[in-house]
């Protein structure tokens, strides 16, 4: 652990070797990341953390790109409490995507998030494909407004994209000028809501159709990440469908559906009845997902699931992820991604490997 004696803090936002342009610099589609460590959506609120722990969090975020909590078209209350319970090496949650809705998000949080010195990956979910499209359109409109487009003067003022026409000249469409700063992650994998979302992400056809539709309103070269659920028979099939649909990267994985009973009443403990399991318990399962998907798709992967130590980071990179996200383990240390980035640098030096050489090495012949 990094112990800086001046304020006694255990970890800091920017350990040596993780500066932009350093040896850990990595590419996620059009986004350039100073290092491969980011946060998993819903497990780190940078604006809240900055209010509690100090403005250094927004000045020098402990993540190479920031992924806010899922935003939906309409505001949501989320599930009733209790929402959390610890299990063996894991955390079960049934948060249920509480959020202010995309309108408020664009008005209130987005301007501040665009001021961050790192890329932003907005995470969006919906309960029907239309809701996804409308929410993403609203977001794109806000970004076009704030940061501009090139290639067509009218796009920024039209919140509704033209319907998809096969064969239409892609080059003639307006290009987002912000594609190098802002990406989109579509959450088709939350197990804690009862329609849409994970029910889309468990079906390759629905996944394909949704990504197709989203590519219309979130055009190339802007980053479109599909966040997949592991609660499927064949994650390779869903991954391939997402890639065919137009995803530029995949995030693997969201939580595993589980259940905890109240030890006294013996009824389901969580307000949402079932919940999603995360934490070290699921790491081998998440690692398998990354490894298997890497065998089938060419787009970059974001490895997520139980990352707690630098060993986990190295494992996900070796299995084929280009970027690794810290989820629940970051609750114990909000600077964990930055700390792990520092330790990753050391690991690479000790192994005399570059980051590029490490990525996917588990697939090379022994």
């Amino acid at each position: 652990m990094i112990f800086s004696p001046d304020n006694g803090a255990l970890s800091s936002c920017l350990p040596p070797g993780t500066e932009p342009g350093g040896p850990l610099t990595t590419q996620l589609g059009p986004l350039t990341l100073a290092h491969p460590l980011i946060n998993a959506s819903g497990t780190f609120d940078l604006l809240e953390a900055a209010e509690v722990l100090g403005q250094e969090f927004v000045a020098r975020p402990p993540v190479a790109a920031y992924v806010p909590k899922t935003v939906t078209l309409h505001a949501r209350r989320g599930n009733e409490p209790p929402r959390l319970v610890e299990t063996a090496s894991g955390l079960m949650n049934s948060i249920g995507l509480p959020n202010q809705g995309v309108e408020e998000f664009c008005r209130h949080d987005l301007p501040r998030l665009l001021g961050l010195p790192c890329p932003l990956i907005v995470n969006v979910a919906g309960f029907t494909p239309e809701e996804y499209v409308l929410a993403v359109e609203r977001l794109r409109w806000a970004l076009d407004e704030a940061l501009g487009v090139y290639g067509s003067a009218c796009a920024a003022s039209s919140p509704s994209a033209a319907p998809y026409v096969a064969g239409r000249d892609e080059a003639a469409r307006p290009k987002p000028a912000w594609a190098w700063r802002v990406g989109l992650e579509v959450n088709i994998s939350c197990p804690n809501v009862h329609s849409g979302c994970m029910s889309i992400g468990t079906d390759p056809d629905e996944t394909f159709a949704l990504l197709r539709a989203l590519r219309e309103v979130w055009p190339e070269p802007a980053l479109l990440v599909a966040k997949l659920t592991p609660n499927v028979t064949d994650i390779q099939a869903v991954a391939e469908a997402a890639e065919r649909g137009g995803a530029g990267a995949l995030a693997l994985v969201n939580t595993f559906k589980g259940l905890v009973l109240d030890p006294v009443s013996l009824r389901p403990l969580l307000g949402g009845v079932t919940g999603g399991l995360s934490g070290p318990a699921i790491k081998p399962l998440a690692l398998r997902a990354v490894f298997e998907v890497r065998q089938r798709v060419g787009i970059p992967l974001i490895g997520i699931g139980g990352v707690e130590t630098v060993v986990d980071v190295v494992d996900f990179l070796a299995a084929g992820a280009s970027v690794v996200a810290v989820g629940a383990a970051g609750f114990r240390d909000p600077c964990l991604p930055a700390r792990l980035a520092g330790e990753l640098g050391e690991q690479l030096r000790r192994r005399s490997l570059s980051l590029a050489e490490l990525i996917g090495v588990a697939h090379a012949a022994g």
Binding site: M1, F3, P5, D6, N7, G8, A9, L10, S11, G42, T43, F44, D45, E48, A49, E51, V52, L53, G54, K69, R77, G78, E80, P81, P82, R83, L84, V85, E86, S89, G90, L91, N93, I95, P98, G279, P280, A328, A329, G330, F331, R332, D333, P334, C335
Partner: protein, 307 residues
């Protein structure tokens, strides 16, 4: 220019751990610790523990040491993490994230709010009102620091208003073993006395082994009177009962330190929400843990409150 010390994750070392009745009193030295308000909490995680998450514990006391502090926690061993904490030995290390949350706002609590319809001038001559402190079980935890802060408000190092009210402590326990935990209040009451302030202390036990035989709310019913301020910490049922009792008395205001299962303590996870009186959900770690009675419980029917 000295760095402003602010809440952060720090490494602490246990300097002392002993029983306090059925609970444990754990003292942890934390370099760099930023001074806290009474009622704030910290997320604790023992190094090498099998537990995945840190757990929230009220800051029970805080004494400056060097560029940091020695913190005291009062821990009820109710499950794996709290048992582990309660049994630590000196030298054990733990991570401490804090201070967190909104604690007791003494400016607000001690402000001479006029009774409805009475003009401020009328208050000047009124008898000195009380600050009634109601603790249930390990709910006693936040009050040593509250007492110390009240004592220092009269000139000590802490930025607290001068205490214009006489503290009265009402502590409810299950049995004698638990009741021995009142010892944690001793330093605070002494400091109050040295600062020239009196304070009262009454105990109640469920089994009658110590003090009053019955619920602590029964003591409260006898003691509380118009114009008092009440701060409470304890099981949810106790808090609701306190509110049910007090909200009908004119010019009595209540603050409650509430609990919820937490993962992050800093507002990141949306896990610690509780329903407020207006039906909305609030994060205990950010909006609380101390909430006003109206916010937390509102105008709920009396029988709902005491269930």
């Amino acid at each position: 220019m000295p760095t402003v010390r602010q809440p952060a994750l720090r490494l602490g070392e246990v300097v002392f751990c002993c029983e306090a009745g059925a609970f444990s009193r754990v003292r942890v030295e934390v370099p760099g610790w930023a001074p806290a308000r009474p009622g704030q909490f910290a997320m604790l995680h023992v190094e090498g523990s099998a537990r995945f998450l840190a757990r929230p514990f009220s800051l029970s006391d805080e004494e400056p040491r060097g560029a940091g502090a020695v913190l005291t926690f009062v821990v009820a061993p109710v499950g794996p993490a709290s048992q582990e904490l309660a049994n630590l030995r000196p030298g054990a290390r733990l991570s401490v994230l804090g201070p967190l949350g909104r604690g007791f706002d003494l400016e607000e609590i001690l402000a001479p709010a006029p009774a409805r319809g009475a003009c401020p001038a009328a208050l000047a001559g009124s008898p000195r009102r009380r600050l009634v402190i109601v603790a249930g079980g390990v709910g006693i935890a936040p009050f040593p620091l509250l007492l110390r802060t009240l004592a220092q408000g009269g000139g000590g190092g802490r930025s607290a208003p001068v205490c214009t009210r006489t503290p009265l402590l009402l502590c409810g326990f299950r049995d004698q073993a638990q009741a021995e935990a009142v010892s944690v209040l001793q330093e605070g009451t002494e400091e109050l006395r040295r600062a020239g302030m009196g304070s009262g202390l009454l105990c109640a036990t469920d089994d009658g082994s110590v003090g009053f035989h019955g619920p602590v709310t029964e003591l409260l019913r006898r003691e509380v009177s118009s114009g008092d301020r009440v701060v409470a910490c304890g099981p949810p049922a106790m808090c609701r009962a306190v509110w049910g009792l007090c909200r009908g008395i004119s010019d009595v205001q209540c603050w409650f330190s509430l609990e919820a299962r937490m993962a992050c303590g800093v507002g990141s996870c949306h896990g610690c929400v509780i329903p407020l009186a207006d039906g909305s959900l609030a994060k205990v770690c950010r909006r609380g843990p101390v909430l006003r009675g109206e916010e937390a419980f509102g105008e709920v029917e009396h029988d709902l409150l005491t269930r």
